[in-house]
Structures are given as C-alpha cells and as structure tokens.
C-alpha cells in the first residue's frame, strides 16, 4: 500500500499532507432524476477537510472500450463531517461518468483531493446570492452551508429546464438558504427576468457577494450585475483536466490580469491549481 492512499479509519487529524488518494467506500450511488445521480461515500479526515468550491479528482471505472485512463474532476455537492461523508452530484454524460455510475454500495472510489482553490467569502459578508443551473447547483451548495455558518443570509436562485430537474432545493433550504426557483417551463429563467429578479433582491436586502457555476450566460449576467453595483463575486469553472495538481498545464483557460501599473492583459491560468473558483471580473467568457 502506498504512503498516501488513506482509508477512512487510518486518517488522523495530524497528517502533514493535505492531499491524498483517498480510498472511499460507496454508501449509495442512486439516480435522483432521469439525468443525475447522487454518489455518497464514507471519506477519511483528509477528504472531509475540503472547503466549498474545492474538488476531487476521481478514478473512474472503465466504461466498455474506454479505459478512462485519466481521472475526472468532480465538484463536491456536500461535505457532511458529522456522518463522515462526501456527496457528489453528477450528470451521466461521458465515459467517465458512465464508469462512475457502475459503482455500487461497498465498492471503493479512489478520490484524489481535496484540490483547488475554493470560494473566498469576504469577511463580514451579510448577503450572498448564488445562481446555479444544471449541475452547477451541486457546486454551490457547500458555499451556502459555509455562508450561513459565517452568519450571512443566503439567497439561492435555482434555474432548470423544468421543476422536476431541480435537485439541490431541499439541501439548500435545510442549510438555511432562501430558495428562489426559476424554470424555462414557467418562462422566468431568461436573462432579462433574472436581471430584474437580482435588482429586486438587491433593493430588498443589499447583496455583498455573488457566486455562480455551470452557465456562461449566468456568469455574464453576474459579471455585469456585480460590476454595476460594485459587488464582489466568484465563479466556479469546469475544464478538461490532466492531473488536478497544477503539474501538467492541460486545463488552462484565459483570464484578465491587471499589472501593478494598471495595464490589463489576458493570460492562461490553470483551472485546477489557480481555481477552479475565480473572481468574476478576471474571468473571460
């Protein structure tokens, strides 16, 4: 057994290495609707030290002819330190997630992590507004938990094609977030409606932090909104990855840099190491 492969009962609080190939036991891996599965695993202490916005790099079982040689990055849907469990919410859409879907209760998942830079809530934040669509909701849920724990009010705007595809609603409510649902069916999920909604929420109770994940359209909306009102904001990004430890430089995306003299340039940064959470104003879409 290698030095850093950690089983749940072997991990101690005093481990000096913050990232490990955590061997997690599957508790359940069930469909939550026709597109998404919820994977719950028993995780060691190193893994449970994860922060909102960080992620794990999962070894996915082979899917037919695809050996799934590389790991797949997966955001954390819930860090349940009381139960010693991690939740991952994922859409089954490629060979990696098809492989993940084959895991059953009692199987072992090799989860490298926690890795990446998570959300940074400014000190004294009073009102966090988060907007998520699709699987982006999964990534934002731990932030709601952290924000409420830090004494902030959280308004979570959940967007989906139809109400039956919403997933994080109950978890967010039980964490103390106020949940607002918008759907394509009802016709209130378009950018114009959302912008009006944001303005109403802001007028009712000033927003001092915004967060999003999973949609370029929503990210652009929040960029414009946060710029207009001078509100801090962050976005969790996704990119195809190699190593998830900043080593291979495969997962770069362009970002705006501001030099000391104010000059603005655009340069590549590693989503896995410099992110996956980035400040909205730096993000190029």
């Amino acid at each position: 057994m290698s030095l850093c492969a950690v089983k749940p009962d072997e991990a101690g609080a005093g481990d000096s290495f913050p990232v490990a190939e955590n061997l997690c036991t599957i508790v359940s891996n069930d469909w939550v609707n026709e597109e998404y599965r919820l994977l719950i695993v028993d995780a060691p202490a190193i893994a449970l030290a994860a922060k909102a916005g960080q992620f794990f790099h999962l070894m996915c079982p082979p899917d037919g002819e695809s050996g799934n040689f590389l790991r797949r990055p997966m955001s954390i849907h819930r860090i349940d330190r009381e139960q010693g469990q991690l939740h991952f919410l994922y859409k089954v859409q490629g060979s990696g997630t098809r492989g993940l879907a084959t895991l059953g209760q009692g199987d072992t998942l090799d989860a490298l992590g926690p890795v990446g830079q998570g959300f940074t809530l400014p000190r004294g934040t009073q009102h966090v507004v988060m907007i998520g669509r699709g699987v982006g909701l999964a990534t934002l849920a731990p932030l709601a938990q952290e924000a409420v724990a830090a004494g902030a009010k959280v308004t979570a705007i959940l967007s989906a094609r139809m109400a039956s595809l919403l997933m994080a609603e109950d978890a967010l409510r039980s964490d103390g977030a106020e949940v607002v649902i918008v759907t394509d069916d009802v016709g209130n999920s378009d950018t114009t409606s959302l912008e009006a909604l944001l303005r109403r929420v802001h007028a009712d109770r000033p927003i001092d932090f915004v967060a999003t994940c999973g949609s370029k359209r929503l990210t652009r909306l929040l960029q414009d909104f946060s710029t207009e009102f001078g509100i801090a904001g962050q976005v969790a990004l996704e990119q195809r990855m190699g190593c998830a430890l900043g080593m291979c430089f495969a997962c770069v995306m362009p970002f705006r840099n501001t030099a000391a003299d104010g000059t603005r340039t655009v340069g590549y940064r590693r989503v896995c190491w410099d992110g996956p959470v980035f400040n909205l104003e730096e993000t190029v879409l």
Binding site: P18, G67, L70, C243, C251
Partner: protein, 312 residues
C-alpha cells in the same frame, strides 16, 4: 538493506527515481515528501515568457494521453527566484530542464543557470530549431551535437540531452549528443501523434499534433533505451510509460541507469513513492545489494538456448 544509489556522470543520486520534466510542480509537495526522490527535474522553461498552446491541450487515449502544452514559461528570473528556492526546501538535487529557439539560446540560458543551485541541466531538444526551418534539434544529429557543445562551453554543470523519439535511428542522435559532451541521455521525450474527434471532425487537441505519453509508449521507448545504451558509454535515463517498479526494473535491465516517471504521476500522484518501496522490496527479495547492478543486466538468449528451441 539495498543500496539504491546510482551515479549519473559526476552526480550520485540517492535513488534512480525522478519525475519526467513537466510532470511535477509545487502541488506534488501537498501529496508526499519530495525528499524521497532521487532528483527533481523541473518543467522546461525558456528565457522568454510564453503562454503555451491554446486549449484543449489534452486528449485521453487507450492507456495513454495526447498532450499539446507548448512549453508555457515564466522566464529565467521566475525560475531562479521562485522555482529553485521552492524545491531547495527538499533534500533532493534539482535538475533544470531548458529550451530555446537557437543553439546560442541554449548556451546563453545554460550560462545563467551555472550558479543557480541546480546540479544539472536537461536540454529539451525536441523543440523546433528556428534557424533550421523549424526542424526539431533532436531530429538532427548535427544540431543535437551543436546544442550540447554550446551548453557545455557555457557552463560547468553536467548536461543531460533529452532525446526526441521522432527519429529513424536513435543511436545516431545518441552518439551525436555524446560527441557534443553530454553527461547523460534522457530517452525519450513524447512521440509525435494526433487524434481526431469523429463527431466534430476536429483535432482532439487545438494544436493538431501533440505528444503521446503513458504506458502504451513503453515498449517503443524500451527499444530506444536499449539502442542508446548500446551506442554510448554515458548513462542513459529511461523515460516513457514508467508506471510502477516493474517498468523501472525493465528499463534498467535494458540499460538505463535511472528512470523518469511522467504520465502515471498525473493518474496516481503517489506512484513514484510506491515505485521506490516496491523496487526496494524486489531487490531484497532477489538478494540484489545494489540497484545499479540491474543496469544493462538483461540476459540475451544464448546460442545453446536458441539451438534447443530449434532455431534454423
């Protein structure tokens, strides 16, 4: 207790395991103690600042990957002031990997590293030579010899030539590097390859071509390590699809003095540490007192054996 130390020219390494250039960064120090490695080979940098290729930069293949990164670089000052001090926290010799567009550029950059604290310089000669119509230095024996000679003239540090596998006769290039004064060979860099998405009809990496790396490449590079070791008297460092101790032992039997692991570290960041533990266990089980005894120890089929097999 097995003696894991190996000699690469004038340098003695505590063990024969090191990362391939570009497969280890600061993040690895969050996973294990980098002091366990025989050497730390850093990611190739150039003197000038470079952003690298446009994404997508990686495609997954069977037991391998296609990478097209393009040598992004933060330049020499960053390397000297940030990268080297970071790795000096560990009790492991640092090897710098460098690249340049011209022979003179390789020499000038090597000179800048003379007092940097690194113990050797690896020349990444798989990049295009801008003065020879973009043909990679490592694909041309004359350019290979000139680059190594220019570096040796510019610095007292040992120079390792990291060969390109994209050649017809690797032995010719190996001898050219040795003639230029190389202290060791690293065999080899990634094999030039490409892949196309049959749904979008687009290349799977934006740069069209990239380098295939990973376990699938091992038998080809194994053959090249053997050919290099036969062709030169300087040490050869095996690099291609090393995933575990068995792969490292195989490379050493073929003639390698040490090995570099690359792609496997992306999949299993603790793989180099596990390799070391398993290599030690193998040597103890086989009663091998010095791991260096494995180098070139492959046993060929004897004429008698072949006769018994009915060789006609």
């Amino acid at each position: 207790m097995t003696d894991l130390s190996v000699r690469i020219g004038d340098i003695t390494l505590a063990n024969p395991i090191m990362p391939g250039s570009g497969t280890l960064a600061e993040g690895m120090a969050d996973v294990f103690d980098l002091s366990r490695l025989g050497a730390i080979v850093t990611k190739t940098f150039t003197d000038d600042l470079r952003e690298g290729n446009a994404p997508p930069r990686v495609a997954e293949l069977q037991n391998s990957t296609l990478f097209s990164i393009g040598i992004p670089s933060k330049g020499t000052d960053y390397y000297l002031n940030k990268t080297v001090p970071f790795y000096q926290k560990f009790n492991t010799p640092i090897v710098a990997s460098i690249s340049a567009d011209t022979t003179e550029g390789f020499g000038a950059l090597a000179a800048k590293l003379s007092d940097s604290g690194v113990v050797a310089i690896e020349a990444n000669i798989s990049c295009p030579n801008l003065k020879k119509d973009g043909l990679a230095f490592g694909m041309d024996p004359v350019a290979t010899e000139e680059v190594i000679r220019a570096m040796k003239a510019a610095t007292h540090l040992p120079v390792w030539a990291k060969l390109s596998p994209n050649v017809g006769d690797i032995a010719v290039i190996a001898r050219a590097a040795e003639n230029g004064g190389a202290d060791a060979l690293v065999t080899a860099n990634a094999m030039l390859a490409m892949a196309i998405d049959i749904e979008t009809w687009q290349p799977r990496v934006a740069n069209l071509m990239g380098g295939i790396t990973g376990p699938a490449t091992k038998p080809v590079i194994m053959r090249m390590v053997y050919q290099c070791a036969q062709a030169v008297s300087i040490p050869v460092i095996g690099c291609g699809g090393v995933s575990n101790a068995a792969d490292a032992i195989e490379y050493m039997l073929a003639g390698a003095t040490a090995v570099q692991m690359g792609t496997q570290s992306f999949v299993q960041p603790t793989a180099m540490v596990k390799l070391l533990d398993d290599l030690t266990a193998y040597c103890e089980r086989r009663g091998i007192a010095k791991v260096s005894k494995l180098t070139g120890a492959m046993r060929m089929f004897s004429p008698e054996q072949l006769a018994r097999q009915g060789s006609l």
